[in-house]
């Protein structure tokens, strides 16, 4: 998704940090989210994404730095700043013994009162219109996620913060949430801050993103730019390896370099030449097992994430 970024930051963090004992969960974080952005906030589990979101939503106090929402310091103008923000932090939890409508009434009372019509509207928007009177304890995980988005949208906020909103959903549920995010940004003019550990999810909906690893920012910018700067390559596996190597050496295609790695070949080339590459390999008697187009950002992201997840 490609959307122009406005100049005005609606969310900014300045040297934001949170320390627990000797360990910095987040350190020196400088984020800028502009009006109209769908901002992907990427990082592996434990990178500090939720800690950052908790600081942005004033659930925890920063150890250092500050958060600015709509140009105002969150610390000094908490109530005014949060008036235009809605969000989900980690998994959406509700009063299970109450209905969805009652839960939203309670949220409504905390944002200055919300008309019943608005409650029904947001339930319809997330596809829970016919289940609003049911107790939340009867909801599936996916329905709770959707109710989480409904409560985030209840006050018609300008900035919607979604922390791993597709967690635990089936592919269809994930697709629906992604479509909803695109709808919010494109048709309802919301700024969306989307935290995720899935690069492809962010790629599909975000126009800007930041990558967090071990509590520190490692990349931030336009998704397209970040992807472009990384370049593209294909990863080929097949047998015999010696023949693949010789084919690649004499290939009249756009190959700029190749490297043998992890039981296959990383081939830096124009991805439009993949069918020709496949044809050449097969013609020269290579038994091709797979040809996978990859981007270096994905590799970069994995190189950051994998060592920590082990």
């Amino acid at each position: 998704m490609h959307r122009p970024s406005g100049a005005e930051p609606v969310l900014q963090t300045k040297d934001l940090g949170k320390r627990y004992g000797d360990r910095w969960a987040v350190r020196g974080l400088n984020l800028q989210v502009h009006r109209g952005d769908v901002f992907g906030f990427l990082g592996p589990n434990g990178a500090g994404k939720s800690t950052t979101i908790r600081m942005v939503l004033s659930l925890i106090a920063p150890t250092s730095g500050e958060v600015e929402l709509f140009g105002r310091s969150l610390n000094l103008h908490r109530t005014e700043s949060l008036r235009s923000v809605g969000g989900i932090v980690e998994k959406p939890d509700f009063y299970l013994y109450l209905s969805a409508v009652r839960n939203l009434e309670i949220v409504g009372s905390l944002i200055g009162g919300v008309a019943r019509q608005r409650i029904l509207e947001v339930l319809d928007l997330v596809g829970l219109g016919d289940r609003g009177r049911d107790l939340v304890k009867t909801y599936s995980h996916g329905m709770k996620q959707r109710l989480g988005i409904a409560q985030a949208l209840l006050g018609d906020p300008e900035l919607v913060i979604l922390d791993e909103p597709t967690n635990g959903l089936d592919p269809q549920g994930m697709k629906e949430i992604r479509e909803l995010i695109v709808h919010l940004a494109r048709d309802r003019r919301k700024t969306v801050f989307l935290s995720s550990h899935l690069l492809n999810e962010v790629e599909m909906v975000a126009n800007r993103m930041a990558i967090l690893a071990k509590g520190e920012l490692v990349a931030q910018g336009e998704v397209e730019e970040l992807l472009k700067s990384g370049g593209q390559y294909v990863f080929v596996t097949g047998e015999p390896g010696t023949r693949i190597r010789s084919v690649l050496r004499g290939l009249p295609l756009s190959v700029t370099k190749f490297e043998e790695k992890e039981g296959g070949f990383e081939i830096w080339m124009d991805q439009g030449d993949i069918p020709s590459l496949n044809a050449q390999l097969v013609r020269r008697g290579v038994r091709v097992a797979s040809i996978v187009p990859r981007r270096s950002l994905e590799e970069y992201f994995l190189s950051i994430t994998e060592p920590q997840e082990r």
């Binding site: 908790r54 939503l57 004033s58 659930l59 925890i60 106090a61 908490r78 109530t79 005014e80 700043s81 949060l82 008036r83 923000v85 969000g87 932090v89 980690e90 998994k91 959406p92 939890d93 509700f94 009063y95 299970l96 013994y97 109450l98 009652r102 839960n103 009434e105 309670i106 949220v107 009372s109 905390l110 944002i111 200055g112 009162g113 409560q151």
Partner: protein, 278 residues
Amino acid sequence: MGRLVYSELLKTFLKKRTYLGFLIILIIVPLVEVVMKVEGGRYLSMTTRGLAMDFSILGNPFNGWFVAHSIMNSLWVQIPLLISFVAGDQLAGEATSGTYRLILIRPVSRTRVITAKYVVTVIYTVLFVLFLGGLSIGLALALLGGGDLFVIGRSIVVLASSDVAWRFCAAYLLASWGMISIAAIAFFFSSFVENAIGPIVATMGVQIVFLIISNIPSQFFDDVKPYLYTTYINVWQKCFMTLVPWDDVWKSVAALGAYSVGSFLLAWMIFVRKDILS
């Protein structure tokens, strides 16, 4: 603020565990009173066994007022326990269920949130104590009828039937005030833990330890007693003295009020600075 209190009332009074205390009272009080009616004067003779050698008791002091007064003794341990079920859950319950993350990201100050919760805790406590009073007095009078009230304590007081009703009303209002201070302590414990069991156990621990200290005749503990709320929580008993010592009553009311306000302020200080990690 009205909206916040209303939503806290919804949360509290639509939760089944809120009615656990009411249900227990609804079972125990009729059971005790019916048994007392069936067993007749056995309970009275047990209570007055020691007095029978020195006094000759004429008439029938075993009436509804006497039974209702006896039930008020549950205000020492049983009622505080039931109140702490709800008061201790007010803040810790949100942590346990993860709903702090739902309510504390809103454009409303934590001070207003905790105040609304405290107001609801007070409302619950008063309703609960008055429910106990209404049920125990109403049922006891229906089963055993009225008459003069025979109060057996360190001394024996006989109050004329015409002089009893207002004393019960005053006693239950003062008992509500005392129970609010216990609820406030449970509320305070609730502010810094993430599980409602902790505040209940801690509140009962404090109540029992303070009661023990209050009842030990010792010079050492005498110096401590003015600082314990249990020294004042028996204020309701003063309503059943021949002449109610109003100065003492107001002093106790002020001390219990200070405990309630102090506990709330401590809870507030913790709550507004608390990192929500649940």
